[in-house]
Subunit: 177 residues, 2 copies
Amino acid sequence: MTRTRYFTAMTLDGFLATEDHSLDWLLTRDAGDQSGPLGIDAFLTEIGAIAMGASTYEWILRHHPDDPWFYSQPCWVFTHRDLPAKEGADLTFTQAPVDEVWQEMAAAAGEADIWLVGGGDLVGQFHDAGHLDELLVSIAPVTIGAGRPLLPRHVELRLTELDRLGELAVARYAVLR
Amino acid sequence: MTRTRYFTAMTLDGFLATEDHSLDWLLTRDAGDQSGPLGIDAFLTEIGAIAMGASTYEWILRHHPDDPWFYSQPCWVFTHRDLPAKEGADLTFTQAPVDEVWQEMAAAAGEADIWLVGGGDLVGQFHDAGHLDELLVSIAPVTIGAGRPLLPRHVELRLTELDRLGELAVARYAVLR
């Protein structure tokens, strides 16, 4: 059964990025051994389809212009603008409702899971449509006071796992309905 | 050496309370055994002086009108308004700069520590004045999307302890300078 999972990093005060989309507060941290059970490497092996918002996609293009695309899985990018396609990426640019896209993603994922990369409002839209099962949040040891919110919704959770990964605290939550 | 410590609870997305000062998202949780090393009971034994903002003080008055005051330590309440004094509490209402008040508090605390109860902006003012050594944050398994911020500042931290307490994740941080 495909799970829809939000794997992200944030500041202690709940921001994914500064207002101007900087992740410097995160990228300066030691994120430990990401090959363990709470790291991105293990996570990615369980993922069959990916969704992200336009700002997240543009951040990757801007910060990794010369790197190959990271993901082998099909990726849906929600955007109202024309965006350049990254070479080697299996991309679908979409403006369709999240529920409709989720059906396509679930079909593509098969038995594997769906990764919602962010941002927070896109994940909120999936939650509104009933498609959010898990949060896996790496918490960086910093507050920044303002920025892009983790998940601008009221969502009830249950803590299922908690550990350290390098300088980060990592918490896994089941979404309650 | 007196440490200045911010012990609080927040939502996963970094809010101390809703915009209208509700803590219902917190008070419905099982907070586990608070007599352990990360709980409020052990914490309070190390505290010799307390500071809080007017909203926090008023919240206590409003929600515990018939209860005795919780704290034996002297407590400074930062307010620009006239507030009623709670019977049995060792209170000082002040509008003085936080640095000046901190000196009074440190003198009262002696070898014990100072507890900054909140809200976030008051703690930020202590931080601005160089008086913030530790954060001890209980993270409730819920997002609420908007509310009173944890600490509206850029503060660099180091994770020193991480554990579960009932339904909560509890993280202790040293403030880096």
